[in-house]
Amino acid sequence: MLTRRMSRVFPETSLMPQMSELMDAVLGAAPGVQAVFPPLNVTEDEHAFHVEAELPGFAMQDIDISLLNGELTISGRKTEQEQKDVNYHRRERLSSTEFKRVLRLATPIDADRIEASLERGVLTVTLPKAEEAKPRRIQIKHG
């Protein structure tokens, strides 16, 4: 299992306005910018795999989900309008981004029943296992 925790761990502090432009340049590489986007959480239960991703600012039409040959692809594109005549004091969020993540699923999936929802910036994809992949209880007959 891969465990990573980014940026947001640091508590507290940071100041506002009136900062120099030099600071802005330094903050361009703030720790909040992740190399892998979006971070995923994947869990499995008896019936399905659940893939979750934090995609704040994305709408459903910005996101594309597909399953082909046992590979789940989640891709998206977002372009935020660059504001004119403004001064950025902090810039930690991804303003314009294009991403693509691919997950290989070794278990057969019932593709017709895949469900995806995007709520409050959290994407959830539920991938039900195909019937043949579900655990089966074997009855033991007494002779």
Partner: protein, 133 residues
């Protein structure tokens, strides 16, 4: 930014059942943009998963604090294959500069993004009466 990564999930061998017990909810610092225009300062914070009624914005003196409580999204009887981010509360504080009008702070939440707009205070204009003799 454009990143392509490939992960393998669903291991071929059996994993140890990992009960997802959360003893305490962690707190994370949300990523923000702070934008200044001629008329206002805007703090844009990524708070995915936050419900509007769980967000708490307070100003005390010159300190603005932003808190968002997130309900744990645990799945019973499941095991984790990939855990790249933690789910927890958001908290961050900002020191406000002079000349902001916090009484007219406006907050909006959309798609997991919180926007706080703080107008700049109008400079006090004092009218000097000119007396004529």
């Amino acid at each position: 930014m454009n990143s392509t990564t490939k992960d393998t999930c669903s291991p071929t061998e059996t994993q140890v059942e990992r009960p997802q017990v959360r003893t305490e909810v962690p707190t994370y610092r949300p990523n923000v943009d702070i934008v200044e225009s001629a008329h206002d300062f805007t703090i844009i914070a990524d708070v995915p998963g936050a419900r509007p009624d769980a967000i708490d914005v307070t100003v005390e003196g010159k300190v603005l604090s932003l808190k968002a409580a997130i309900a744990a999204r645990s799945r019973p009887n499941s095991r984790a294959h990939i855990s790249e981010y933690g789910v927890g509360n958001y908290e961050r504080t900002f020191r406000l500069g002079e000349g902001v009008d916090v009484d007219n702070l406006a907050a909006t939440l959309k798609d997991g993004v919180l926007t706080l707009r703080i107008p700049k205070a109008e400079p006090e204009r004092r009218k000097i009466a000119v007396k004529t003799n």
